[in-house]
Every structure is written in structure tokens, then in C-alpha cells.
């Protein structure tokens, strides 16, 4: 069961992981993008932490909505509207819920994935964060996902040739590099898994 406290723990842990991996995320973005994914995400996370600190959050919905709006107005780039849309969808999926059952968390991830894909219009195999979202959500629905599985999804973006996002402009040269957005989404899922709720 995911309640407000555990969701808060999840998000705090996710934020810390983003900040810890800030440089790595940018480094991943360097060879196939413009080297700013870590900077973008960290800027959003810092602002979100501030926004949350000044606010008395009383529901999961409110938590996700605050995160969504802050990321939307602070991250910019491709990641801003994508993560913004994801968290808006999370907020919608948790509206009026005090806690979420496994079924409801599955819905949460599915709604997030749908929002991501309809905002970004990327399908599977285009070397974007979609390539972590889709296998994660599917496997979570089927049963358990281990941390190593998530690492595997992230690593699996390496051989892909990008056809969406900035990396697409590199064509063949995008092959052989892990997708930075996939890495940050991986952090979202791994911090969720470490809650060990389901």
C-alpha cells in the first residue's frame, strides 16, 4: 500500500538520487544530446524541494500536483513537459485517494506512461525514457520487478538508434550510449522499488 508518508519517502529518495547523479545524467546527455539532462533535472528537483518545504502537503494528489507544476515551470527542455505531464497524470490517478493498492499503483504507472507517450509521441524502441517505462510497467503488472531489472531496461537503450528527441539528429552515432532520460526514469522506478511495498 502506498500512502502519503511512503510516497513522500519515495519522492525524497528520488530527488536525492537525481541530485547524486546530476553529473552522470549530464554526461550521458553529452555524447548524444546537449549535455544538460542532469542540470535540468537537478534544477527542477531543487525547486520542488523548496516548494514542498513551504507547503503543508496533506494528500498524495497534492504532492504529485506540486511536483508536476514545479517541474513544468523549472525544468524546461524535453524532460520538463514530459515529467510534468507524468506527475500531472499521477496526481489525477491519485485524486481523492488516501492510499494506493497495488492495482491502483499499476493504474498510476499506466496513466503516467500514457501521458508521457501522448505528450512526446514516442513509441517503444525510439531510445527515450519510454523504453524504461513500458517494460517496467508491464513487468510490474505481471508481478515483481527487481532493481537489476530496471538497470537492465536502462542498459537496453544503449544499442538502440534514436529516432525521437535530440539524440535522433545523430542517427547511427546515437548507438552505443545509454539514454539519459531513461536513466533518470530508472531512478524513479528504483527508488519506488526500494520502498519494498508490494
Amino acid at each position: 500500500m502506498l500512502n502519503l508518508t511512503s510516497t513522500q519517502r519515495w519522492m525524497e529518495h528520488f530527488f536525492e538520487e537525481i541530485l547524486t547523479h546530476k553529473e552522470h545524467l549530464s554526461d550521458l546527455d553529452n555524447p548524444i544530446g546537449d549535455g544538460d539532462h542532469g542540470i535540468n533535472m537537478a534544477r527542477g528537483v531543487e525547486a520542488t524541494k523548496e516548494a514542498l518545504a513551504t507547503k503543508d502537503i496533506t494528500s498524495i494528489n497534492e504532492l504529485f500536483k506540486t511536483i508536476a507544476m514545479t517541474l513544468l515551470s523549472k525544468v524546461g527542455g524535453a524532460a520538463g513537459p514530459l515529467y510534468g505531464s507524468v506527475f500531472l497524470a499521477f496526481a489525477k490517478a491519485s485524486l481523492d485517494l488516501e492510499s494506493l493498492s497495488k492495482e491502483q499503483v499499476i493504474t498510476l504507472f499506466e496513466e503516467g506512461q500514457t501521458a508521457l507517450m501522448s505528450r512526446g509521441k514516442a513509441g517503444v524502441g525510439e531510445k527515450t525514457m519510454v523504453d524504461v517505462w513500458v517494460p517496467f510497467t508491464a513487468q510490474f503488472k505481471k508481478g515483481a520487478v527487481r532493481l537489476e531489472d530496471v538497470d537492465g531496461f536502462v542498459e537496453a537503450t544503449k544499442p538502440l538508434k534514436a529516432t525521437k528527441g535530440r539524440a535522433a539528429y545523430l542517427g547511427e552515432r546515437s548507438i552505443g550510449h545509454v539514454d539519459p532520460g531513461s536513466y533518470s526514469s530508472g531512478l524513479l522506478f528504483k527508488t519506488f522499488l526500494t520502498l519494498e511495498l508490494f
Binding site: S26, N30, P31, G33, D34, G35, D36, I39, N40, R43, L72, S73, K74, V75, G76, G77, A78, A79, G80, P81, L82, G84, R119, G120, E126, A162, T163, K164, G165, R166, A168, Y169, L170, G171, R173
Partner: protein
Amino acid sequence: MKKIINAPKDVVEQMMNGMAHAHSNLVHRVGNSRVMARNYKGAGKVGIISGGGSGHEPTHAGFVGKGMLSAAIFGDVFTSPTPDQVYEAIKAADQGAGVFMVIKNYTGDVLNFEMAKEMAEADGIEVEYTITKDDVSGGESTYSDGRRGVAGTVFMHKILGYHAELGASLSDLKDIAEKVNPNLATMGLALAPATVPEQGKPGFQLGENEIELGIGIHGEPGYEKASLMPSKDIAKVIFDKLNAYLKLQKDEKIVVMVNGMGSTPLMEQYVFINDVFNLLNGVGVHVAHSYVGDYMTAIEMAGLSLTFFRLANETWLQALQAPVETIAW
């Protein structure tokens, strides 16, 4: 990293303030938003806005003013602006006839501008847009997002600004933009990378004798590394790419822009355009007007881009040549 700045995180703020101070006769910053708007209102006319990451100066704010853009949005360096800031620009630009957005084709730009459009429409402001995709360096595009928007976008700003000033409607502008788009072709190359201040190190590495072909305007690598070659050979490589796309005809008229990427001396830009003229003369194509200088940069990247703009419509030359009141056109 050796830059004349105070702190990396303050660069965009302080640059905006410097610009607003220096050109207070033409533009002003909207509150403490990331929007630079023109002083001239253009009551009843469609507002044109453009924006993207910072680091492309004089693009975008340099083209804000009577006859060109109504407002420009400054994202963080090389990072698309956020929807709330684009929405601020829409509000600043709206004079009752709606707002037209010029978006360069980058996922982040498209997503953020689209979200801003949704926000504005929810407030009853009509918004239309065009997405420029003039970078033909990739040849036939194999990726579903299509080509990048680069320096040719500056011509789009000028032509739309001209028509908006004459009173064109949102749908007129959409029409014009869609006719202009396929006639723009650009390709660039880099001799040295750019460094995003907050990143502190260059976006890619190049050997002493290497150049990067087909670069965009964000310090992202191009489609291919090559050895440094003479200007006339570089001109030929780019000319062939542009021509493969435009299929220039003998005796037709084009407009040419050599655009420095930030740290390319005019000396090199003029040597280069001399070679471009030789190639164009060779195929009997006439240059109706040319532009040389830093129009859309990638901070201090060394290199340049070449844009050919086919004058498929007679009014376009007039639209380009009409006087404006901006910082940098």
C-alpha cells in the same frame, strides 16, 4: 571555462538585465519573467513570439521590435523555456488579434510551446504556430521528428514580422509560414565546441585538425567528423547538401546567409561567402541579398552555417529588406 560572467547560474538573468538596460529604447523585460518584449505595441496586430534556450544571441531577443518579433523567451542556456514563461510571452504579445509562435524543431521546444498554447487557449487567447525545420544536413530524414530548426528561422521571424505589421491575420501568417518553410535550407559545421556555463566543459571534443559537420545550435555533435579542409571545400560540401534538398535551377534567385556560430571572425565568414558565391555563379544562381554575421549562435562555438532561401514568392525579398526597429537585424 574562461568566461566574463559572475556566476553560471546568474548568466541568463544578468544577460537579460544587461540587454534591457542597454536597449531600453527598444525593449523591456516583462516583470522578472524570462520574457523580453518590444516597447512598440502594435495595437490590434497579431503578435509574433519566438524563443528557446539562451545562448543563441542575438537570437531571439535581438529580433524583438517593430516589424519583427513582439516578444522573445529566454530558456536556460541551451534548454527550452518552460510553458509558464512562453505563456508570459503570449500574454505580453497579445494585442487582441492572437499570437503566432515560431518554434524551432526540437522536442523540448515543441512540447513546451504546445503546453503554453494550451494554457493560453484556456484563457481565451488564440494561438497559432509554425515549426521551422531548415537543417538539411541529415539528408533524407530517418528519424520521425524531422529536421532541426536552425538559422533559417531568422528569415521566418523577419517575414512573419513584416506581414504581421501590415495586419496579416493568424491564419494568413500560418499560410505564409507553411510556404516559407520548405524553401529554407541550412547546414552548419563546427571547428570548436561551446561550453554551457553551468556545465563548465565543452559539449564535444574535436582534435587539433578535426571539424564536426552538420552541427545544430546547441553544442550537440553533428552527423560526421571530418578533417579540417580549405574554405572552398567546406563550401562545396555544404553547397551540395543544400542543393540536394533545394535542387536549385539556373537563373533563379535566392537569399544567402552565412551565420557565425559565436566565435568565428567575420574574416572567415567573408572568405567563406566568397567561395559560396563562386559555387553559385558556377550554376547560374543569382543572389538577391546576402547576410553575413552572427545571427543564431551557439554561445562561443567556432564554425558557421550556410542558409539558402529560395525566393519562391516575390514579396519575400521585400519582406526581408523592409526596415525594422530591433537590436540586431
